[in-house]
């Protein structure tokens, strides 16, 4: 069953959030797991090193990618490039055709969601089977993933039990262990039936052409090793210079993503063994647009751990689908405008108080709140949002704040309006949202300036 296509950020989801208690509890568990992850390690030091390695890489992205390409080719891998998501999907379709594959089995890849791979393959008559438990659940349910690390965290166990009962024809159970076993059994033969195994890439070491994928369930290892062809989907920002850089990132990703010391399986793919093929598709799809903006470039350092989502009070309440993108939460709000288009995603940078909890959690120290503040400016400069009324108001505000007497008039008006509302007058439309849940502050008899003047 096809999932809904990406929709522009649904205003309704941010405007009328339906906070789910189970999602809140789930996210809190994620945050707690991260906090209690053992601390013999100097995390501040690791974070700083990771940031520096990513900075170097991104600032030399073309040379590092070329080194990776050369190294992977030397190991017998095939490197393909895709400027757009359509080109990436076309590559995968071509590989399927070339090898006569009518079905593919997938390890978890948010990039594959971003490029809408499954829909593209389905249109060409190729089945795409998700093997990661969370992805498998949302695929059965015909839904989009709602979280970068846990695609089905918006569902509780009863929801999952219902989906399995309906779609797999199983007796209802809401025991997570039983549900996992059911998924395992159902998927077992898929690895053997699929002509192609597709995974994402967490890191790719340029010096040795090694592709690194981390996971906990084991389906990634099965998807990569059983089918005769392994296709790796890689965002161009995933490359790092040296194999020896990996331990820093592996520790940070495990801790920030799932509160672990290391993920259960850290795969270093070394190139196809005899009789097999390994393809790595390097995908741009808007990343060079992010690269070109110096203030946003740092968002390419992201290692997709999901920690910013777990701690974001807005994500917790609005949920992952509100962002209308494969990437939700604070990092989603930063990258989506450039990947999907500023106008389509114009609301995202504003759906935040810039509290900075995300930056505090980020294992590579990306300054997300500053980037959100900056994106607001790009929205104002480059799109038709905010509307003319707000633009006029801002111009008037700036004019009034430039000199004392206009400041005085502006605030005299404000006090007059507030006094009127306090006495039962109809509030201006702009204040109505405030008044839905809050009272207005009382108007003091005199302003500070007035008091100061009298004093002198």
């Amino acid at each position: 069953m096809a999932a809904q296509p990406h929709a522009p950020a649904a205003a309704s989801s941010f405007a009328r959030p339906q906070p789910s208690e189970s999602l809140a509890a789930t996210l809190q568990r994620s945050v707690d797991l991260k906090r209690t992850a053992e601390d013999q390690v100097d995390w501040a030091n690791l974070r700083q090193r990771a940031h520096a390695i990513k900075k170097y890489t991104i600032e030399h992205l073309d040379t590092v990618l070329l080194e990776f390409e050369q190294s992977l080719r030397a190991r017998g891998g095939t490197v393909l490039w895709a400027a757009t998501r359509e080109e990436a999907v076309a590559h995968v379709r071509d590989i399927c055709r070339r090898h006569g594959a009518t079905s593919v089995v997938k390890g978890k890849s948010m990039l594959s969601e971003e490029i809408e791979l499954n829909a593209g393959l389905n249109r060409a008559g190729i089945a795409a089977v998700e093997s990661d438990l969370g992805e498998f659940i949302v695929q059965l349910a015909g839904q989009r993933p709602s979280h970068i690390v846990g695609p089905a965290l918006h569902l509780n166990r009863r929801d999952v039990g219902t989906i399995f009962a309906e779609k797999l024809g199983l007796p209802f159970s809401d025991d997570p262990q039983a549900l996992m076993t059911a998924a395992r059994l159902h998927l077992r033969r898929r690895y053997f039936e699929a002509g192609i195994g597709i995974t994402g890439v967490n890191f790719a070491a340029a010096d040795t052409g090694t592709i690194v994928v981390v996971e906990n369930e084991g389906n990634g290892g099965l998807s990569a090793s059983i089918p005769p062809v392994h296709v790796c989907l890689m965002g161009i920002e995933k490359v790092i210079p040296r194999l020896a850089d990996l331990p820093v990132f592996l520790r940070l990703l495990a801790r920030a993503g799932t509160g672990q010391k290391l993920t259960t399986y850290t795969h270093y793919f070394l190139g196809p063994e005899d009789g097999k093929q390994l393809y790595c598709i390097l995908i741009d799809a808007g990343r060079t647009r992010i690269l070109a903006d110096r203030r946003l470039r740092e968002s390419l350092f992201c290692i997709r751990c999901g920690a910013c989502l777990n701690v974001c009070p807005v994500y917790r309440r609005a949920g992952g689908w509100a962002y209308g993108s494969a990437y939700s939460g604070p990092i989603g709000a930063v990258v989506t405008p450039l990947l999907e288009g500023l106008s389509a995603a114009a609301q995202l940078p504003f759906a935040s108080t810039l509290c900075g909890a995300c930056k505090q959690e980020c294992p590579v120290d990306i300054d997300l709140p500053h980037q959100l503040a900056y994106l607001r400016q790009r929205v104002v400069e480059e799109t038709v949002q905010p509307d003319a009324a707000e633009r006029s108001l801002m111009r008037a505000f700036a004019f009034c704040m430039q000199r004392l007497w206009t400041y005085g008039i502006a605030f005299a008006i404000v006090r007059w309006i507030l006094r009127r509302v306090a006495h039962g007058g109809k509030p201006p439309a702009a204040l109505a949202p405030w008044l839905r849940a809050r009272t207005l502050p009382a108007i003091p008899p005199e302003t500070f300036k007035s008091w100061w003047k009298k004093r002198r």
Binding site: P17, T353, C355, K359, H370
Partner: protein, 251 residues
């Protein structure tokens, strides 16, 4: 983070100016009066440049950097003559000391902004004072404004000051690191998210058992106070709300 917090300190004879947020001038003048009284007690001459208006944060937050820059230019002109600029607000403090620089490193506003400190950081790190001679015999909890906490690192200073107030019983606010949900225009553009976050904050305030709520930011307090006023949380206690400056001014 503000650079060199520990290195330079206030020296007698230097000029200190009060930067009072525009909404405090108009809605919470007691905050300004408390700052004046506090500095009087400390024996530090405090100037109030009368032509000051606003730091420009509403424009910056809305993405209107040109309008914010215009306002910042005026701010810079007003405060340029002073050695130190003190503001009883973490968010306005962050606007001047962090975001002026973020918008335009080379601007006069960025240079003047580098001399702006929130009240707590100035008292503790620049004056080297933690006991300001205040007395306030109540159970108090502190709401940590996010900009003050994360952009300015002002939390420790604020808590130090409160703990040094005579007869004040300090209680921690549960989930103090969670944003109250004000966020400037966020409170009207995304009012349900804002109210939801605010209600969670109100529940935690009640759970703390405090009689008094304080903060370094009157804007956060305005939001919480508005929610309490609407009694959307089944609140039973009457929690008194005071800005940090007001408590420190109590003798």
């Amino acid at each position: 983070m503000q650079a060199a917090l520990a290195t330079t300190a206030y020296k007698a004879g230097q000029s200190v100016a009060l930067f009072l947020p525009c909404y405090c001038d108009v809605l919470y003048p007691d905050v300004g009066r408390a700052c004046v009284a506090l500095f009087e007690r400390l024996g530090i001459p405090l100037a109030y440049p009368f032509t000051q208006t606003c730091c420009g944060q509403p424009a910056f937050n809305g993405g209107f950097w040109r309008e914010a820059a215009t306002t910042a230019r005026h701010f810079a002109a007003v405060f340029a003559p002073y050695d130190w600029i003190v503001v009883p607000s973490g968010s306005c403090g962050a606007m001047a000391s962090v975001f002026y620089r973020y918008m335009d490193e080379q601007s006069p506003a960025a240079q003047v902004g580098a001399r702006v400190y929130d009240l707590a950081s100035f008292l503790v790190h620049k004056l080297g004072v933690s006991d300001v001679g205040a007395r306030f015999p109540h159970r108090v909890t502190y709401l940590d404004g996010c900009h003050g906490r994360r952009e300015l690192g002002a939390t420790a200073a604020a808590v130090t000051l409160l703990r040094s107030v005579r007869e004040l019983e300090f209680v921690e606010l549960p989930a103090v690191e969670e944003c109250c949900g004000f966020g400037g225009t966020f409170s009207v553009k995304f009012d349900e998210l804002s109210a939801s976050m605010g209600r969670a904050k109100c529940r935690n305030i009640l759970a703390s058992g405090a009689d008094v709520l304080t903060s370094g930011d009157a804007s956060c307090l305005m939001h919480v106070s508005g929610l309490f006023g609407k009694a959307t949380v089944p609140a039973v206690r009457d929690v008194r709300i005071l800005h940090l400056a007001q408590i420190l001014a109590m003798a």
